[in-house]
Subunit: 346 residues, 2 copies
Amino acid sequence: MASAATINDVAKMAGVSIKTVSRVVNREPNVRQHTRDTVLKAIDALNYKPSMAARGLAGGRSFLIGLMFDNASDSFLVDLQRGILRACRERHYGLALCPASRAADRTADLMEWVKSTQPDGIVLTPPLSDDRTLVEQLLQIGVKFVSVSSAGTGLGPAVYIDETHAARAMAEHLIEAGYRDIGFVRGPAEHACSELRYQGFVEAMQSAGIQVNPDWVVTGAFDFDSGVEVAKKLLAQSSRPNAIFASNDDMAAGIMHEAYRIGMKIPADLAVAGFDDTPMSRQFWPGLSTVRQPIEQIGQQATELLMRTVSPVSLATNDENKNPSPDSNMILPYDLVLRPSTEPAA
Amino acid sequence: MASAATINDVAKMAGVSIKTVSRVVNREPNVRQHTRDTVLKAIDALNYKPSMAARGLAGGRSFLIGLMFDNASDSFLVDLQRGILRACRERHYGLALCPASRAADRTADLMEWVKSTQPDGIVLTPPLSDDRTLVEQLLQIGVKFVSVSSAGTGLGPAVYIDETHAARAMAEHLIEAGYRDIGFVRGPAEHACSELRYQGFVEAMQSAGIQVNPDWVVTGAFDFDSGVEVAKKLLAQSSRPNAIFASNDDMAAGIMHEAYRIGMKIPADLAVAGFDDTPMSRQFWPGLSTVRQPIEQIGQQATELLMRTVSPVSLATNDENKNPSPDSNMILPYDLVLRPSTEPAA
DNA sequence: TTGTATGCGTTATCAC
DNA sequence: GTGATAACGCATACAA
């Protein structure tokens, strides 16, 4: 097993200098077509692949995108990764994972990862994207980053959907289907979208002239178990809602599960709506109405936005030229996915 | 924003040579305690973090573990990542993702990624772990790798559960619950586990003296939609099974969905069993009986196995010392998770 | 126990 | 257009 070919081997074989090889590899101009062809042939013959490590060291770029996440749902994470990877593939970038630790100094851990890995850019997911402490430190050391799905801090660029508008649309759908006794399950406060989605719900209710019943507004943790818990609370009340809008699918699933357990029919006895369009929402019986976020596309766009700001080897020597401004934000369309779980009451 | 401190800065501040700093950072012996303290203080003061790129280039190690996957299910992928990341954290390793492309020369793409990224080790997931062409090329260039969840090729080390035994146990459970008309849904042929799980099913049936009905053995693609499809086939027959053992949960979910659609009750009219214990299996109503693989633990063990063989900077110069032998395989325990979907027929 | 010098495979700065 | 040559930040023989 001969150790992999280097740029020197290619240069030797092509009879040119390594700089010329470098030019060809990096698609720089000012190389005669004939020279380029010769080099390319040599590259092919030796099966030469540039070393990321060396490129990183010499060029100040790691060709690595970092994905920072904390406690994200499976499908969200995977979809996002898919989108990021698709964007990475073309530009020969790699994706490195950076999970938040459970440690007390979560932020310190994350920053350490950034400093040692030195990714060229970071994709920040909620709730990290809503963490002002973290974002400010990121900004301070001058690393490029972009938030996905809401940027609660208002700092740095972000790619997301109009959560409030989407939640409002779903609530309006419930109302149009004839439901008026609608409960709402909020997400955790650390997620900026929790408030946004709730706002949408409230707006729809107000527009329809329906009073929001505070007894029917509860808070969950964005997971299945908390969905079960809040369902127990909501459905045990003497006067209970006949529809529940959960601010994500996992909680909605918990609600449906609990409703079935106590013998309720969906949507006959209880309509349920979710948010996120996880695979589960269509696999459940009956299918769960939900809001589809184009997560994969969000990941891809976020990454491309990131690379656009990175490509001209801007090592951010001047503090002014740090990150793309927040006004390079990107708002993608959502889809209202209507399934039997919210069909009109009989 | 001062550019990050380097080993030189630390050496200067501590009044020692860079080699000494290097010794301290890498926890090498032969450093006086006092010197070590001085250096550590400087490291702390300057907030020094070694550059992965430089370490990689100079030391021949990238401190990166690669995760190669193709078409894996969300929860499998995420659980595995969790395990790998846990193992990585302690040793300050990073995790880089390497998805298989849809291109014709999938293997070539993967190998290109390996050559340019130069991970210190690779975690191979099915069906890639069962792909002899890929595995042989990996072996040839001398990269360390370990397969998870079956190694169909028999080459290289692997961490997995006894799939056949697990499938057999589940089938036996169905039989003990009183079911005899049991259908089976195989997985795709490219997955080595498909055959293994089927074997377990057959063994259980034979032991119980029950004839396997070939009309009730069908093949799916390990996803929800194929579960729906095979359910349509199986349940449309004049003589149909009253229990179906799907070789993974996603297909089982499809079967349950279709069963509900045509008005069947589970398990009263049809018992269903799956394999994998995806989150969905407990979220469905009724809960789905399944086999739990300790995916997260598998990922962790696989990674630790990988690092054990990597740590002594063995750059595999001699062809003999390539990978840990297949007998360093690891078989982890599985769990039979019994839920209402397979309760005894009435 | 500690330090010096060299090299890792690129990129980048200049000359030519 | 092209090519020497010096970084880049670290590891590692080899000295001391």
